[in-house]
Symmetry: C2
């Protein structure tokens, strides 16, 4: 922040066209590396890439993994609750659950007291797979630790929680009129 904002005595010190030297120009990203949003995006892509590389062998994507976890920890949950908890629109959760159900990982159980909704449960296969995925997930986290240290990872989580809590809850469905 020691940059004199607008003064500019010498008309902006324009560098010559960047493709002149033709020497593997490093390309100046300006303020981008100092913007939290930009770096969050880059980091998320990097981490998801590692996640994806491991989980593709099981044909599981991040959203599916999250849903499996939530159902496992809250057996009997209804779709609208999963939707709310994970910020997934009700409408978009349908196909995701169809997939999990067709693969025999989760099931929709009719609820006697409310015939509109289903109680969600993991199948035994689903629970077994989730256990395996948990191990992969732990290894994945350790790979993050390998880059910034375990204390760094903990600190990162702490800061991310702070950011999320502040801007936080972005309504899962809301205004449907």
């Amino acid at each position: 922040m020691s940059k004199t904002a607008n003064v500019r005595p010498k008309r902006a010190v324009r560098r010559p066209d960047a493709n002149d030297g033709r020497a593997a120009a490093p390309i100046d990203l300006g303020v981008l590396p100092n913007l939290v949003g930009y770096m969050l995006r880059r980091a998320q892509l990097a981490v998801f890439q590692d996640f994806w590389r491991v989980y593709e062998a099981y044909d599981i994507r991040p959203a599916q993994y999250a849903v499996l976890i939530v159902i496992d920890r809250n057996p009997g949950l209804r779709q609208s609750q999963v939707s709310a908890a994970l910020n997934i629109k009700r409408a978009n959760l349908v196909a995701l659950l169809d997939s999990l159900e067709q693969r025999g990982l989760a099931k929709r159980v009719p609820v006697a007291t409310d015939r509109r909704s289903y109680a969600l449960h993991l199948t035994e296969d689903g629970a077994a797979l989730l256990k395996k995925l948990g191990e992969l997930s732990a290894a994945h986290e350790q790979r993050v630790s390998a880059t910034i240290g375990e204390s760094g990872r903990k600190e990162l989580l702490r800061l991310l929680h702070g950011v999320v809590q502040a801007v936080g809850s972005s309504a899962p469905d809301d205004d449907e009129s």
Copy 2:
């Protein structure tokens, strides 16, 4: 990490169906809040939401803002270089630049020495808008600081850079056959 992995003396302590009590069930997210990937996604969505809310008045999206910055800092850059610097596929950059050009914010200048490529420059309008956007961006960052403190923001950036550098460079185009 003080959880005895598999032992489970009492057959897993299953809670009753989560929609029994019907008391605004809090819903257990399990390990999700401890996963860097999950929290990165939530944080990115939260921050982008704030960013978007401010920038929509100027009809500028994150990727467009990044491109404007890079062109401004590296006048004369070619499209493939922007593509490489920002991890945007060459093909997807075309429409983005078309938009900026049609709005009179950037321009493609033919290069005499290589008639296949264009040198990218901001127009005066583009430079003026970018200056304004920079101010909004600074305010946006300050809003992040307001949640986790300026030292927290700096630390967050440091950790994100660490993560990105490690997994890092995910080739902007690459294997096209």
